[in-house]
Symmetry: D2
């Protein structure tokens, strides 16, 4: 249990405590949802009741007002102790809500009352538990910077574009009323990358109900086809050139994804808890009591705890670093170099947490013994869930070291 | 593909080639058997047709006459490339058949014609594909040296004992006609550990049909209750004091289990193959072709291949070492120290192969990308199957380092 | 450079900045001092001039008033970027000065004016750069809790005890005016462990001038013989039973040693800096410019930076955790369980930093190439210096996992 | 001691036994030679007396007739147990002698009596202990395939070229009568890579006496300047295009360097031996006898032994694989693909042995405790010597994974 994480701000403490209170409920529901591969709408209801859908919404708009990325990550870890699927699912919503908050602040800072109100509306709805937003950024055969879901003007419908393409791993989608997604916008000056917002009810937005995965089975991560989905051209938020990092895109990705690591830390923490429990309750003749008496069990638990401590430290330090960076920026945009540095911080933490959490779960299984291999044992689910971590974008283990190396060597990574 | 393993004896080559020929068939059946958690009797039929049930039976008794542990392990790896469950299942049978061969040789060497024939009978049946034997050595809450399944004399039935207890992880059991198991035999001079042989049809031997696990789902590893199972007292083969290693027990465990590592190597080799295929066929814009163009993919594949090469080297070297040790012994029993040295060789290989195979599968998933997380992708099954390795007895990761350390330090481990 | 550490308090910032300012000077002197295996008194002079000898002394007594363990560790890392030997040497002094500060606070809190002044005196001298104290806790063939340097009453000299024994690895000793050490005090109720304070000039305290080591060659870590060293019996501070952890001993060891990790982090940071420089300045034909162009170099640098980030995160998080723990305690003693939890935090960080720093230096050598193997290249010194980490007490890699495992499993470690 | 390596051929056995017999002598001399950084000519004399200079020379030419790469590697490991510097130094000579043997066989096979005799002469001299050859292939700022030491025709001296350039890490050079080196030969059809042979006495071949390194200090690895060294143009052996791998260059590099791994394995084996000895002889109160009683020591030794077993297995399996490959080729050249496969085998083994040996030495230091950090303790030398491994060409850790990945993915690496 070395280096356990605690929140550092008052709103963060509320977030963490409420998340922690949900752990028993989430655990209770986890096995069934996993077995059925079903999205547990009841978990979203519980999060709503706990006021967590609006965790990042400012207090004056009805939310908890959490601003610390550190605390957000810690709260995710608490939810992850309950169930990984729900933790990653809700983070998709939280990340998008945070982006809205940023827009609200920016509009207010620049005296743009209309813009502020345009953001305040959905934020109030989020805080009231009436709006769940889901962000989707993944497509088959390409990467975030190079989406192939394309916005093309509709002939004869001035000011309207149609979106066509495919999105995969759309976590949380069964519960969402609104989808935020990256799209490709051809222009005369080259392609642009933009964010589009599509209501769940939009004609042509077709959920595929095809989520059947190794783990995170109740995360609702189905794929979607977009077949002529109409949105107003003016609603597209241009974010930069297609295929190129900009400070905004980098920070957006970092802010939306860094806290996801908490979910995997939480899974590992749950596994560690199960391992300790197993060690203190299982007996063997040669242990003359609980197997926790055996030096070999003590060693494996020690190894597990050290690895877990490393994950905690990485998540916490990356959270504080991002908090600090944002505070120093004071709402001003960062340079490309600073944004890459922020992403590199996240990537270092991501590698440590994703790999470490997998190891922790595996070591917990060693401690718990053969029973951990049975489908009915939660450790066997955690082993499946935790493996989702390295797949999370950006970056995967085939990309992260090169990215971090390039940043450290003073280069500006291209993808 | 560095350091690929090949057989080193002629019978071994036959074993390996026939195993290799079964790979496509085993792969074809694997997904369905895994999904249904069903024992694939058709795989046993295929092994029978290929003459592999009698792989270790001497040629003069109708078998392939494989004697090399190295080659046996390599053949297991080929089967493991097909399907892990079938590979570990058949190894339970092969290990027991090898013990019978040893008894046959010993009886012949000592001029014990009756004893030789007693072993030859089942060996001929094995070679003819009429007999499948399953060894079971695991019970809940104790270890191999301290079984609690107890043989007690039946009052009024002179020469008969009853067996009562419970066995778990009885891999291959749905196909077995005969079960070999370790039992506890109370005597006036203290408890003994003995091997008992129980026909599948014996009253009181009750399969529990309770195998529902994370992986190796088609290995038929259900548990059994023994409730007053009658066997002749004379059929018990006393192997030593309960709770203590003897050279015979050590060598028996090493010989029966070392080649199991092949199954896990084979799983890793299959994963590596899938990773290479994915790298050469998946495309991404930034790769300007297959993702194998990306340095990051090349690095991860290289890392994977180096880890895999280490697994291969460990299995091969441990196989050769055991071949050599047995040849030098020339049929004579080894000392306790030599037997511990043999077990330590196996344990070193076990750690390297079990941990390495898990890493290889995980790295293969990194290379193959998010699709590898889907239930329909074989890599997601391999990830589940490969995790069975460290649970295999003896020893698990909570025990192995201490064991090896004690042997290296000149101590005689107690458990 | 991910997750770079910065101080979090104002006095800490002063400490860190002054330490950072010394880096060029320390580096400049390092090679010669290493080659000669000589203690660089000029470095102590520089630290004195920079006001760092009194870094932990309260401002009202003339010091910098640093109280944050986090910041202390960060400052050590900055010194470690300069030279590891000097960083660990000065930490021996800082740790002892902190213990004195604690005594000063405790005395003031309890209204013990005389006790407060007894501590204030040396603290003022420390802040004035007139007193360097060196703590020594290691003896051959035993451990910290079981010192064999024994305090025995001197017959005919009422109130005087003599100390006899041997202390090894007495880092900083050539510069110290005072030595603090753990000793064994036989009593009627069993042996006690106590701290004794011995002036450098005390007859019978014999430096052996025998420091000739692989690394940390300019740390002055010679051994001492104590041959009838006289000290007043009343000056011995009894700390608990010989051979048993008490909360005070645990916290004392944790506070004195945790920040040492900073020195090893600093060494690793220096190595990383040299690696980046080498990558950006060395050229090779196949790189068509600096080798930083090569994907393999980028990968290795990325791997190095991720490992380094993990070390930083561990040190920072452990520092903050200890700060938090001390603040919560508010000067009150911790329970044995809390003190073990604090030690376990430190141990987790120690494992990560010590092992990680070794790996970072080794990877830096990979990047820098064969030149890094030459004696004149600073990396070859860092490789030697960084290996001192795991030897630092408590605990070494043969003990740490067992310790952490026992604490995590709710047991109270005995040694 | 799991998976200890033994020779598999009769000449190999002789080589290994004679090498093993030298271990005490080599150890005895090691500390002094290391401290002085002096080349120990007395070790070459001992090797000569033991007949090991001609280990690879055919028996009919007076040598031991070793042909097995496996056994050669095992013998190197035995020498490495004695002293690493001498092991790597002699391997430079052995590798070159093996190339000569290959030429002798090829000439005989093609009926080229003169060519055969041209090779037989130096081979007889080698077997008689009268000739030591040193191969050098490294230059600053470039790689093996792109040497900048250039052969240019000497105006007015028909048939003579001059060599100008610089060679570094010329191990064994103080003992060599002849130097083999790769050079660049400009031609009308582009640059060629060729091997040149230069007598130690050649004017313009200038040893720099500049070997002062972290480890391998008695390996005589000084650098050389070549300033107008004259050699007959006809003596240059063209090996392919400058900057491109050919099968011959690949196999030459693999054959010359693979066995070097033995030296690093031997160093690790020596360290393991010292660790076991320390564990069984050092005592501590809490161990109630030797520290080998402590579970933590047993665990660390077990971990060490497993890592060491992995190194042994990798070296042995790579040796057997190369033996097998050469036997199958039957003296015929391999295809480029086969030659890359052979190199990839070697690279996998190299990574495992180089990294593993470093870890083994470090873990041995953990077991032996603080004394291992003292200059007088052989472990502190082994820690320095063993770090040379990853620098050995081809390939270093910044290159090897990419290389292996490319080969595994069916690509033909370019450098």
């Amino acid at each position: 249990m070395p280096l356990e994480l605690e929140p550092i701000t008052a709103p963060g403490r509320a977030f963490v405590e409420r998340a922690e209170a949900l752990v028993p409920t989430l655990r209770e529901r986890a096995a069934k949802a996993d077995r059925e591969g079903r999205f547990p709408h009841e978990n979203v209801a519980s999060l709503r009741e706990a006021g967590l859908l609006g965790a990042l919404v400012p207090e004056e708009l009805g939310g908890l007002g959490v601003t610390s990325v550190h605390d957000w990550g810690v709260a995710l870890a608490r939810l992850g102790r309950g169930e990984g699927s729900t933790a990653i699912a809700i983070n998709m919503h939280l990340g998008t809500s945070r982006a809205l908050v940023q827009r609200w602040h920016a509009a207010r800072a620049s005296g743009d009352t209309a813009g502020a109100e345009a953001a305040a509306g959905p934020l109030r709805a989020i805080a009231a538990g009436q709006l769940v937003i889901c962000a989707t950024a993944t497509e088959p055969g390409t990467d975030f910077l190079r989406p192939n879901t394309t916005a093309t003007p509709v002939e004869g419908e001035e000011g309207t574009v149609r979106l066509d393409g495919r999105k995969i791993f759309v976590t949380l989608s069964p519960a969402a009323q609104l989808f935020a997604m990256n799209v490709r916008v051809p222009t005369e000056d080259g392609d642009r990358i933009a964010f589009a917002f599509v209501p769940a009810s939009a004609p042509g937005l077709e959920p595929q109900d095809d989520w059947d995965a190794l783990g995170m089975r109740s995360s609702g991560s189905q794929s979607f086809r977009l077949d002529g989905v109409r949105v107003p051209a003016s609603s597209l938020q241009i974010a930069g050139a297609w295929g190129e990092w900009s400070p905004g895109l980098l920070m957006g990705r970092t802010l939306a994804n860094q806290t996801l690591l908490g979910a995997f830390l939480g899974i590992a923490e749950h596994a560690a808890e199960l391992a300790r429990h197993a060690a203190n309750t299982q007996t063997k003749p040669k242990a003359q009591g609980p197997i926790a008496n055996l030096p070999g069990v003590q060693h494996r638990v020690g190894e597990l705890e050290i690895t877990l401590a490393g994950c905690r430290a990485a998540l916490a330090t990356a959270g504080r670093a991002l908090d600090e960076r944002l505070e120093q920026a004071g709402g001003q945009p960062l340079s490309l170099e600073e944004a890459h540095a922020a992403m590199a911080d996240y990537q270092a933490a991501k590698w440590i947490v994703n790999q470490g959490a997998i190891e922790v779960v595996s070591m917990a299984m060693d401690v718990a013994g053969g029973g951990a291999f049975m489908s009915g044992n939660p450790l066997s689910r955690l082993y499946r869930d935790v493996r989702a971590g390295p797949f999370m974008q950006p970056y995967t283990p085939t990309e992260a070291r090169e990215y971090v190396g390039q940043v450290a060597l003073g280069r500006s990574p291209k993808g």
